[in-house]
């Protein structure tokens, strides 16, 4: 899987803890949230954004919108964002 995506994990006032479910669907990971064990699958919408769509569970049909991100290399990211932090 070569999809890297950033999504909101807040639904109304509820913060979700997203985690791998251990399942894949086709070549895509299936996530679930600790709070309700709803299952979430990344799907592309009509604006070419990758939303997390709840396919099963308490949040069925809810969507977590994509947050803009870039797949790149460190040297280019650092050049364009000189103050960037990096996860240890």
């Amino acid at each position: 899987m070569d999809l890297a995506v950033v999504n909101s994990r807040k639904l109304l006032s509820n913060v979700l803890t997203l985690a791998p479910s251990g399942w894949t669907y086709g070549r895509t990971f299936v996530l679930y949230d600790y709070e309700t064990e709803s299952m979430w699958l990344p799907m592309e919408n009509e604006k070419n954004q990758t939303e997390m769509v709840c396919i099963s569970g308490q949040y069925a049909d809810q969507k977590l919108p994509e947050i803009e991100s870039v797949m790149t290399t460190w040297n280019l990211w650092k050049r364009d964002n000189p103050d960037t932090k990096i996860m240890k």
């Binding site: 899987m1 999809l3 890297a4 995506v5 950033v6 999504n7 909101s8 994990r9 807040k10 913060v15 979700l16 803890t17 997203l18 985690a19 791998p20 479910s21 251990g22 399942w23 894949t24 669907y25 086709g26 990971f29 299936v30 996530l31 679930y32 299952m39 699958l41 990344p42 997390m52 769509v53 396919i55 099963s56 569970g57 069925a60 049909d61 977590l64 947050i67 803009e68 991100s69 870039v70 797949m71 790149t72 290399t73 460190w74 040297n75 280019l76 990211w77 650092k78 050049r79 964002n81 000189p82 103050d83 960037t84 932090k85 990096i86 996860m87 240890k88």
Partner: protein
């Protein structure tokens, strides 16, 4: 289920025989198809079972999104790939902060005016980072 519905349109003389047949067929389908659980008094629910024995109900995924239970793979269980729940970051000047010329792969995002990069190599063992910046809660998934 279809056989039971059809009974209504059968002559009563055959009804008992048809009922017996459908009950037997139903019994067989339960034992031969472990991923599907049929309950005669409820709407059918569809489950997939992972390698830990945990059952995941995917009825909605199948009926509303047209997903096929056969395309759910791996089934490692929810604890096999632990997400990163408390990510720690290096800022410029910190020991271990990479030099500007290194060219490993990252996913980068800028939220609430702060830029953060995540090494793809760090994500590939975890798949998900649960992160937060100000009021924005977000997940990085790979």
């Amino acid at each position: 289920m279809i056989e039971i519905v059809n009974i209504k349109h059968m002559k009563t003389v055959f009804a008992a025989l048809i009922l017996l047949t459908s009950v037997l067929a139903f019994g067989c389908s339960r034992t031969s198809s472990p991923v599907v659980e049929d309950k005669p008094d409820e709407t059918s629910k569809i489950f997939i079972q992972d390698r830990t024995g945990k059952k995941w109900e995917i009825t909605h995924a199948v009926n509303e999104y047209g997903l096929d239970s056969a395309n759910f793979n791996f089934g490692l269980g929810p604890n096999a790939i632990p997400p990163i729940l408390d990510p720690q970051f290096l800022k410029p000047g910190d020991t271990g902060y990479p030099t500007s010329s290194e060219n490993f792969r990252v996913i980068g995002t800028t939220i609430e005016g702060e830029s953060r990069a995540y090494r793809i190599s760090a994500l590939s063992g975890h798949e998900v980072v649960d992160d937060q910046l100000g009021a924005i809660y977000f997940a990085v998934a790979y």
